[in-house]
Symmetry: C2
Subunit: 211 residues, 2 copies
């Protein structure tokens, strides 16, 4: 009940300190990788002292986790799913879902976040697990909800788990691996739309209306 620390950051100091640090840390990690980035570098970029860094985050790894978590939380899947009445509508929903998913996850920053999490997946499972549970799983769950609905309304016969996996595969193809290895460029908006559309139609052709 002590008086809250008032955010007296209104003096053109930019975003709040914590956000500034997270932003600085993320861009530093993106450019230099986790190991190559020194905490001093982060502090300097954030225009903050190392003490502030350590009093806010405790240690370097926690800064990484915080970065990744913060960015991943903004990827969350679309929340409001309209009621799907016919297969035409299902096609539209899937296309929209795919477009959104591809757009968000091919963002260079997101790709870099995946790279960071993958890099530390062995040593700091927390990092990878955070990304998985905050971004990857919710997206998948959201898609599976669509699939479950589509099945219960008799639009598609397949098992939700299987159809979800199929649609994700049709959507991704080999793209993510290429992006992670920097062997592919980010697809343009048009390519993304085309890809999502094709995945949607392919999916519906693959799972025709039962009965």
């Amino acid at each position: 009940m002590s008086p809250k620390i008032e955010p007296r950051e209104d003096d053109a100091e930019g975003p709040e300190v914590r956000k500034r640090i997270l932003s600085a840390a993320l861009s530093a990690f993106m450019e230099g990788g986790y190991a190559q980035t020194s905490t001093l570098e982060i502090a300097t970029r954030a225009r903050v002292s190392k003490r502030e860094l350590y009093s806010l985050f405790g240690n370097k790894e926690a800064m990484l986790v915080a970065c990744i978590t913060e960015r991943a939380e903004r990827i969350k899947a679309p929340t409001d799913l309209p009621a799907i009445r016919d297969r035409e509508m299902l096609a539209k929903v899937l296309t929209a879902f795919g477009t959104k998913l591809l757009t968000e996850t091919t963002d260079p920053v997101v790709v870099a976040v995946f790279r960071l999490a993958i890099s530390e997946a062995v040593h700091a499972p927390k990092v990878a697990h955070a990304l998985d549970s905050i971004a990857r799983k919710p997206i998948r769950d959201s898609l599976r909800t669509i699939m479950t609905n589509a099945r219960s309304t008799g639009l598609v016969a397949g098992e939700p788990e299987a159809t979800t996996e199929t649609f994700l595969g049709l959507l991704w193809g080999d793209l993510m691996t290429g992006l992670l290895l920097q062997a592919a460029n980010r697809p343009s908006t048009g390519e993304i739309a085309r890809r999502a559309g094709e995945a949607s139609t392919a999916f519906l052709r693959l799972y025709p209306k039962p009965g």
Copy 2:
């Protein structure tokens, strides 16, 4: 024209020095990551002096490239493609291809190699590029050859590039990302076979015989 150095490693010293180093380096990198692994650690594991390391590889990054290259070369795609006469045979070839691909690339060591390459993709593009050109591209090329054949013999109508991407997507689904993030376990032999079979049948249903 000086006398070749004869490989007098026949004295039960185990594999040749170079291979021993590569093996030691790969397992060290796998366990500890690139940055966390010291060259002394590698030398000790390989029962070799640091001098030997540096005279053979020059620097640490080259050791990583050599590791990855060596392991990636063993993934190469199946070479002998039988002539494909009908769609039944195409199904079998695709299933076999998929099974082999999944079996080899879900190997924990291979996943770790991907992780290493992805980790260094920004700072050492050579590493990631090596993996891409030695393993990923040849596999894709091999599959596209199958697709091109299938098209020219009138078994499938789709553009080879597109059908290749589709089949890879059906095969992979969301698996690789899960493995990289350590959020999924390696699929069993049975699961791999099932997955490859389903990808194959789905693909053929998606691309019916033209005409």
